[in-house]
Symmetry: C2
Subunit: 227 residues, 2 copies
């Protein structure tokens, strides 16, 4: 008998995961007679994502993943409308300021330029504690990219920068602190993205990006967007 | 009674680790009733480094680490001459081409510009297999940066590049395949580094970098270097 996989939305997923709050876990490593409990937080993000995949399998929830797991998104929750049910998984140490990479800045710009529906991906965010190797899930959120993004002193969009080179789009703390997001909607987020491209690569590049985005948005959604 | 920590060189370490070849291990994660064996290789590098730290502790080997573990180097093996006993830990899937990041390109340039002794750090490299969650150590190497670096079509130094932006210095496969390295010594490596800075940021920036490096090298080693 074939297994029937249940299709769930990301909101249903968040609801089904609510029992996870307060649960504890640990990462172990055994090699050559040395048994180790990992007390470092560097691998928690990837590990929670692999855990979620196993959770989907155990619960018979439907999902697909890109063949290259480095690619966007982490999961598709629906094969009828895969592009409208994209899920990205993020996590951060709840005792600190959220500092995960939302995405590589250049890759994200190209991604939504060509595939404007990527703008509407859901971000499932785990806030965890790590105390002497014991990981506990403190809180979970389901957000859109504009609800977790912010601005910085230098750039209209908050980014990680090293030696004047933009690397990644980074979140701010508003969602963690239950404050209203900086950007009310995708239009305000796109405006900040456009202004940041302009600042970083000049107006010509920014305008070309905007034009292609608007054109592809119109093609996909059959309606206009402007910012 | 105080524990006396043994000081070992990186060569002694490599020798002491030789029994590790062929040994197997696995990474596990337990959370909320789901027990998971990690079958993804993304976290192996960090995990092997944490394992090595535990190995040092068990064997009473002396080591120090920068307070910020993101900083260079991963370990100092000696407190009398810490700068001459730096150890970086790298690992890669032995079935594939080595693709670890030797270092962020910009950070590495600044690092050796200010602290020229960083050029002589040792790289302990683990080549592992991962088969259905079972990790086995296939081979280990101890190398200098110029012995694992190479050139690429576009740049004199092999780097990881995304959308015309240089991110990281990447190794080539010569060390894995027991071939003579592309760069015979640090001078040839520095020349490739200089030419890559020139290509990426222009001659003025490259010359300024070179001048500072040469000056700091002279200060530290009390001898001249030129390339």
């Amino acid at each position: 008998m074939d297994i029937i996989h249940k299709k769930i939305t990301s909101n249903e997923l968040l609801n089904n995961l609510k029992d996870l709050k307060g649960k504890t876990g640990q990462i172990c490593f055994k090699l050559a007679g040395i048994n180790l409990i990992i007390k470092n937080t560097d691998t928690i993000g990837v590990t929670l994502q692999l855990w979620l995949k196993e959770y989907f399998n155990k619960k018979n929830y439907f999902y697909m993943q890109p063949s290259n797991t480095q690619e966007f998104p982490d999961f598709y929750l629906n094969d009828t409308n895969p592009n409208d049910n994209m899920l990205e998984i993020k996590s951060f140490n709840y005792k600190r300021t959220p500092s995960f990479d939302i995405a590589n800045f250049d890759s994200y710009c190209s991604e939504i330029e060509e595939k404007p529906y990527c703008l509407y991906a859901d971000y499932l965010i785990f806030g965890y504690n790590m105390e002497d190797g014991i990981i506990s899930i403190k809180k979970m959120w389901l957000k859109k990219v504009w609800e977790i993004s912010g601005t910085s002193k230098k750039y209209p969009l908050k980014v990680q920068e090293k030696r004047n080179k933009i690397y990644n789009i980074r979140p701010n703390s508003y969602f963690k602190n239950d404050k209203e997001p900086v950007f009310k909607n995708e239009i305000e987020f796109l405006t900040a993205l456009f202004e940041t491209i302009k600042f970083d690569k000049g107006e010509k590049v920014a305008l070309k990006w905007k034009k292609t985005f608007i054109c592809n948005y119109k093609k996909y959604y059959n309606k206009n967007i402007n910012f």
